[in-house]
């Protein structure tokens, strides 16, 4: 009963977004640290690939929502979302030989905004659940 408490909200998807944002932050910070290293190739985590995987995972988790009988043991409901984590390991290498520091910082800023957005929405969803449970508006 408790595992399906969250699967109808956007909390699992937002959790994966947070993971992605934090992983990408470390990769971009590594780029900034290596701005003067000779022969360094820019690394990045592909945001489009992550979004594709997330879309598939969401569709999969929605479609497998058959009515749960009490005897049905649901195998870890987080599993569907876990397949998104494979996109966090594929580094994308750019061919640019000159690292534009401004571009890297701008990407970090955009990533930061995405992270804060996901965090705020997730906190809001948790608060909504708590409101419903405590019945106190």
């Amino acid at each position: 009963m408790f595992s399906s408490l969250f699967s109808t909200t956007t909390i699992p998807a937002l959790g994966e977004v947070l993971n992605f944002a934090q992983a990408r932050h470390t990769v971009l910070a590594g780029n900034v640290a290596n701005v003067n290293t000779p022969g360094y190739r820019l690394r990045d985590l592909s945001q489009t690939e992550f979004q594709e995987k997330l879309k598939e995972a969401i569709a999969l988790s929605r479609s497998s929502a058959e009515p749960m009988s009490p005897g049905l043991a649901s195998s870890e409901p987080g599993d569907v979302m876990r397949q998104v984590r494979s996109s966090l390991e594929n580094l994308v290498y750019h061919d640019d030989t000159n690292i534009d520091l401004e571009k890297q910082v701008a990407e970090m800023t955009k990533n930061h905004l995405l992270h804060n957005f996901a965090l705020t929405v997730m906190t809001d969803q948790f608060q909504l659940l708590q409101t419903a449970i405590s019945e106190r508006v």
Binding site: D100, E102, K103, T109, L113, N116, T120, V121
Partner: protein, 141 residues
């Protein structure tokens, strides 16, 4: 707000390239280089050409900027009478003169100042974009 960040970033990159060319011009105030025919030619000032970057166009018509080309001037060199200089012209009407680059230092310094101010202005615009995105999170209280 997110496309605004990309547009400001393109401006930052372009202004830095402009500042790079100014630095190059100022550093090479008295430089000479040997061209393919073996003669010593003076350094010619470089200048950047900015252009709107259609690749960064948002759906409301805001465009970014890019450096289209870095072009070289073709100015008459400054000639100085230095017959003992190893690179003095050997023959012709300018025999004994050395051809130095004609770089207008004042104009280059002003260009550098303008590039710096534009850089700061774009950083200010980025700060505002970031601020707007953060403030919009307050909708959720």
């Amino acid at each position: 707000m997110i496309p605004a960040l990309d547009i400001s970033t393109s401006a930052l990159v372009a202004q830095r390239i402009r500042l790079d060319t100014v630095s190059s011009n100022l550093a090479n105030l008295t430089s000479l280089a040997r061209d393919e025919r073996g003669n010593m030619q003076p350094y010619q000032a470089r200048y950047t050409i900015f252009q709107t970057d259609e690749a960064l166009e948002t759906k409301h018509g805001a465009v970014g900027v890019k450096v289209a080309a870095v072009q070289t001037e073709k100015l008459e060199p400054l000639y100085r009478w230095q017959p003992a200089h190893p690179y003095a012209i050997k023959d012709g009407p300018r025999k004994g003169y050395v051809a130095y680059p004609r770089v207008n230092m004042t104009a280059e310094m002003v260009d550098a100042l303008v590039a710096t101010r534009a850089y700061e202005a774009n950083i200010g615009a980025m700060e505002l974009s970031k601020n707007m995105a953060q403030q919009s999170l307050k909708i959720l209280g």
